[in-house]
Assembly symmetry: C2
Homo-oligomer: 462 residues x 2
């Protein structure tokens, strides 16, 4: 399958023209230019403005055709009715890619206007994203076309997870949540009305993008079903894809149609495709984060047997319940040798079992030796560490010890921890060192199961 | 059914003896006495200490029998082997209730020692909670027997939700999480090994407690099944009970047994009882909070038809999916009159439908008039307001407007909002004003469904 479009010049542009780069700080075009400057983008910037000689201290041009340079990306932020002409100019100037952030096309009934710009993009072979979208972020190349109030959206750090969203609001919300997570963002693409570039083009680009290790996808409809299936078959052999497909019910389908005019279609069909090709299916917005976190952090498990280490018996019981009632996971049984050594080194009040309840006074030494033994046990494939920081023993030394053990562990490990201030500080520390933390046993075990399922899928396909 | 024990003197004591009130600040007895002082407890305090004349500036006694006053509550924090004698003294001094926080009884195999203290409690009619427990909190009477590091556990404010936990670690963890929630705590009871006072006694007390509007319960086993069923029949007619019963699977049952020696029994039996008597069943720790929040805040719904107002189309679609795939809820259809008025006052880009997508630039006026109309619609019984604060329009004025409308609303209303810093600040403001906020559509709709189910149960039983 040859790519229809080349998105590389959009995500890694050497030069960007901002059409509608206003001198008024409240205008979208001004905010976008300001973003490029603030982010520390090091390529060339060409503000396009009919009335100003410069914008934010940068020389401005009346038309993109006046720019005496190859333009890799044009960001178009002008009223909808002026977009066709601007895009024609881009075509004549041989601009490679364009993002039309402007709204006021098919989503407000102006289908003809949208068709008009699509034809121009096709005619001049401009890889056009949008209209009616937030555009893109590349944390590495410092491209950022967001025009949202920066105080409302925390800043993501550079990482390996790329996120694709049809919906702008879902996109910005999840971007904000990602900023608070331990994992980092590689690329974000909000593609709005998908008049030309669509989910298939974007997924194909991310499939081949070395900086993207995990793809997270929010979808309402799919435009090119055949091509999507063809791509789906290939993409999950290379990297995991977590997908939330909204419109599972007739009420949801109706809502989706009224939202993006998307034909949400029969969810059962999508679900069958996702399952067949090893996609990880999310049902809720938070699932996107939960699953992204484990895929980003984890080595792949060799089997389905989980060992649970805890400092709170009750949380251990709930976690054991979740594992036992999951589809594929089960509680592992330690080897006799592990049991014997545990019995020898653990205080008498610690019952040698799985979950291994280290008790409320468990400190870093008890956690450390338990982790060593469970990690070395050949009957255990994945490790869940529960740390209730409200207990007397759990403290920053326990955090450091778990981070320390995790570094060289050949098995997946996650932490379950619930609480407010003290706990959240420890959880942040764990996550910043690459240990995924969950505030709910169900979310944790669901995520571990997703990791296991994907690993099994890859094994079966390789 | 006449109560076996009277727990009122324990939760609202006029006088408290602390047996083992050490002068050493790291000792449990010292921490507990310090707690009573710090909390501003206004009743009489009697430290019991063999070797000191005073502890923390308060006159100390060698034995509780030396106290020339009626003692409502004795908190016993001494080594296990010394507890029988101390309890005998309590009996002779006609102490009404006792909390044995000390561990080292049945949970470590010393079943005989536990039986011994139980016999003493029964003989002297002392309502004894424990051993091996955290004891109680009453936010109103300022009783607080927690002996956990105060920097690890945030402080709950006074409110209407009471929380009962067999497990100490689960108890302290959920207490910490409650501290970060908008709703407040009435009473907390951690009852440990339940040598005498058990879940039935505690639930009966809370059933009749006017300060308790919602009961949240974490259970591993139930000791007196017949009495539990008898109580279950009555309690939910009076107030909602949210229950998390750990040990749903054989792996969980085994873990529970190794944890509290509880005979977790067949979950299907418990589940049937809970369902028959209108308990709200939680499956995860966070569910306890989600459900408590909606029960604490809400007027009861008249029907199952939900109206969704949003500023993000995608989140509206996911929420509609959840409602449509729930057991009892459905998306409501506005009356023609509502539709007509909405069409008149909403900008053209707002599609008049349910979910009502107000678009990313929706401000407090648009939210306000949408809320007025949907709230007045006779086809809508419950309202979900989605506020994605990452959008340009949503800000503190929207927060204030939703709080304002909620104040007089005769229908349940909750907010769904996801995000980090900016969003969390707004969510906190909403919750502090009595508007429950959820960070996940699934959790929100599950909670609304729990509210509806309980309301229907109460209707059918009244």
């Amino acid at each position: 399958m040859k790519s229809r479009v080349n998105l590389a010049p959009m995500l890694e542009p050497r030069s960007v023209a901002i059409i509608g780069a206003s001198t008024h700080p409240e205008k979208v075009g001004n905010v976008i230019l300001q973003n490029f400057i603030n982010e520390g983008y090091t390529g060339k910037l060409y503000p396009i403005n009919l009335n100003a000689d410069q914008v934010l201290g940068i020389k401005a041009y009346k038309s993109v055709r006046d720019v005496d340079d190859e333009v890799d990306l044009a960001v178009i932020a002008i009223p909808a009715e002026e977009v066709p002409e601007a895009l024609e100019e881009c075509g004549k100037a041989k601009v490679k890619t364009a993002i039309v952030v402007s709204g006021g096309f098919a989503e407000t009934g102006l289908v003809d206007l949208q068709e008009k710009i699509t034809k121009i993009a096709v005619k001049y072979k401009i890889a056009m994203v949008g209209p009616n979208c937030l555009g893109v972020i590349n944390t590495k190349s410092k491209v950022n076309t967001m025009f949202l109030p920066s105080n409302k959206l925390s800043k993501q750090h550079e990482g390996n997870v790329s996120f694709v969203s049809q919906s702008g609001a879902v996109g910005s919300t999840i971007l904000d949540v990602i900023a608070g997570e331990g994992f980092g963002l590689a690329k974000f693409i909000s593609y709005g009305n998908a008049a030309y570039v669509d989910e298939v083009d974007i997924l194909e680009y991310l499939m081949n993008d070395d900086d993207t290790k995990v793809i997270v996808l929010y979808l309402e409809g799919i435009k090119r079903g055949k091509e999507f299936v063809e791509l789906a078959r290939k993409i999950t052999k290379i990297k995991p894809v977590v997908v939330l497909k909204a419109g599972r019910t007739s009420a949801g389908v109706a809502a989706a149609h009224s939202h993006t005019a998307a034909l949400a279609g029969d969810y059962a069909v999508y679900e069958a495709i996702f399952k067949q090709f090893g996609f990880t299916i999310a049902k809720d917005l938070n699932d996107l984060l939960y699953y992204a976190k484990i895929f980003d952090s984890e080595v792949r498990p060799k089997g389905n047997r989980v060992g649970v280490i805890t400092n709170g018996g009750g949380a251990g019981v709930i976690t054991a319940d979740e594992i036992a009632s999951s589809k594929y996971l089960k509680m592992g049984a330690y080897t006799d040798s592990t049991k014997k050594t545990l019995r020898k080194i653990m205080p008498p009040l610690v019952n040698i079992a799985n979950p291994l309840d280290l008790a409320g006074d468990a400190d870093e030494k008890r956690y450390g030796s338990a982790l060593d033994l469970v990690a070395a046990d050949k009957n255990i494939d994945m490790i869940v560490v529960i740390i209730l920081y409200q207990t007397p023993g759990a403290d920053p030394e326990v955090t450091a010890e778990v981070v320390n053990k995790k570094t060289t562990l050949p098995k997946p490990l996650l932490v379950i921890s619930l609480g407010t201030d003290y706990t959240l500080k420890q959880a942040k520390e764990l996550e910043s060192k690459g240990v995924p933390v969950y505030d709910s046993p169900i979310a944790a075990i669901d995520s571990l199961e997703a990791l296991f399922e994907y690993s099994e899928y890859k094994k079966s396909e390789s």
